[in-house]
Symmetry: C2
Subunit: 340 residues, 2 copies
DNA sequence: TTGAAAGCGTTACCAC
DNA sequence: GTGGTAACGCTTTCAA
């Protein structure tokens, strides 16, 4: 049986309360006593028992605010499912989840939603932040108030967020380029960028370019267009580019707009064009089945949601280190046969 | 606050002990009382509190036996790491792990190791079984003794094993074929089979053939060889086949023998040959770096180990359903850029 | 067949 | 600053 607080107390000739205070640095204890108890606990190899901790902490509720730009963005559906599943698993440990969804990329809107969540007395905030200094300042303000902030799916610079859960987007780009190389290392590529405002999209393009340049010198970049994550825009842009450059035989899509791209390809070309894109949303499977996309690179949204909620709880009960943490998930390549 | 046994007891005008007996079917209770209490618990939406359960069960130790054919098979290293990590996470819930490693595919040897583990008083057994009726019988015998058996990484037919944790090997084959199609849908393929004794290898070959036939009619199967998971055998076989069939431009390897195959390719051909293989072992990264393999399909060994131990614990404390369960992990495609 | 009570290890609170 | 003690929800044991 593992060593307990009670045993430490007996050995040190103090009460359990004193040991508790010493081990958790709660103050109200003579420094020398604290040191002595800490030393004893160390030497006995004390490890707090998580079950007992959880039971004892039951009374405390943990209210987690979750703020996502998920409206009209099907990617987030799985992330939400994961978060909800984690909440359910931790419900009998007192974890509650307050989800707020928003639409689009309006900075001020995000600030307002954060304020609203804070007014609902949340203990921690999880969000997919826009990469803007106003959001960073807001995060720092919350941290000062004692509300820890975690980012999920996308990170933000210069803020006091305590944890990021998500993938390495540059690597996403590297992998996309690697796939391109496998499929056709002499491709004529059109890059369709979603939203240049999003850090993640920029990273995916940069990573892609890096690998193309260093490993596939025969690849030709025909053009780069920006569709603002819009299928109609993507369709129009593709029509034009396909007509101007009939030699395009590969399209790399970062972000939304995939169905628009595929529709244009079907309509305006006869030859095979390989499409490499990201994420697994409701349309993806169908597009694979119709042979319209060749590969997609996924970022495990369900796990992202699950892990970030779990991480909140771990920090809450103090079983996660107090340090800043980055929980990095793996990019997952999927092809048609991953689904059938 | 969630509803507790105490509340149910008060509402039903019985003691907590009675409620406990009723809810867990421990017997020694009037059937009508049991029914009434069950109904009340249901109507109140009772959910046992996992933390309390864990704390109360602390005294009970759970000894898990883990038997793997892992000697000289680097694939299992990560699986073992995952199992050990899960054990560590559950150590303060009383979970112990007894690992026995064996080498090769000797049925009787596996039976003997199982017997030895049983003699060590394990409560549950996790193993990667050989697909043989003698092993199935052994499993059924243990089940009768009250030792639940779980399979990991590979499954077995006609046995009472309560859970399988692993991947769908036929899908592995489908995915391999899909990758082949992306890389070169007019390939001349050599199939290198590891060990025909292993169910998983057979499934990977079958799945591959299925997809090739249905989706890539232009692919030509040059030959199939069996290397018995041996690099030297693989090397010799490859040398011969490459000389007999200089048009081979794709090799599909199921199981071990990859370094042997790659060595032969480097020595005996000048043109590009794409290699598709399985798993991520120490050599894999290097082979990618040298451009000798194009893609590998991984089966998340770490997760397999972690999840199977977790599943043991869940069954032990009764939070997993009593049904047979299959926990299926996803096949993960990795290419060079997944590593760099 | 049932009830009462003693744990499990930790935290929190109230005395001193 | 400290010690004592009552929770937290569940299981188990011993009486009745």
């Amino acid at each position: 049986m593992a060593v307990t607080i009670k045993e430490i107390a007996e050995y040190a000739n103090v009460s359990r309360g004193t040991v508790d205070r010493a081990l958790h640095g709660r103050g109200g204890i003579r420094p020398e006593v604290e040191k002595r108890i800490r030393a004893i606990a160390d030497s006995m190899g004390y490890k707090p028992n998580s079950a007992a901790k959880a039971l004892s902490n039951l009374k405390k509720k943990l209210n987690i605010g979750l703020l996502l730009p998920s409206i009209h963005n099907p990617f987030f559906a799985d992330l939400i499912l994961g978060a909800q599943e984690a909440q359910r698993a931790l419900a009998d440990h007192g974890v509650e989840l307050l989800l707020v969804e928003m639409r689009g990329y309006d900075i001020e809107e995000q600030v307002r939603r954060i304020d609203w969540l804070v007014s609902q007395k949340i203990d921690m905030l999880v969000l997919t932040p826009f990469d803007d200094s106003r959001i960073a300042e807001k995060i720092n303000e919350l941290t000062k108030q004692g509300i820890e902030v975690l980012t999920v799916n996308s990170d933000i610079c210069n803020s006091d967020r305590v944890c990021y859960v998500g993938i390495d987007f540059e690597r996403s780009g590297h992998i996309a380029a690697g796939l391109l190389g496998l499929i056709n290392h002499r491709a004529n590529v059109l890059i369709v960028n979603g939203s240049p405002k999003l850090m993640s999209h920029g990273q995916r393009v940069r990573g892609f370019m890096d690998t193309i340049q260093s490993r596939f010198p025969e690849v030709r970049l025909v053009a780069t267009v920006v569709c603002n994550d819009d299928n109609f825009a993507a369709y129009d842009l593709l029509r034009q580019k396909l007509q101007d450059h009939p030699d395009i035989d590969m399209v790399y899509i970062v972000g939304e707009g995939i169905t628009g791209v595929c529709a244009a390809i079907s309509e305006f070309t006869l030859h095979q064009i390989d499409v490499i894109c990201f994420d697994d949303v409701p349309h993806t499977k169908e597009l694979f089945e119709e042979g319209k996309i060749s590969a997609t690179i996924c970022q495990q949204p369900y796990q992202q949601g699950y892990l970030v909620v779990q991480q909140c709880y771990n920090r809450f009960i103090g079983s996660a280190s107090r340090e800043n943490a980055v929980i990095e998930l793996e990019n997952q390549i999927k092809i048609r046969e991953s689904f059938y």
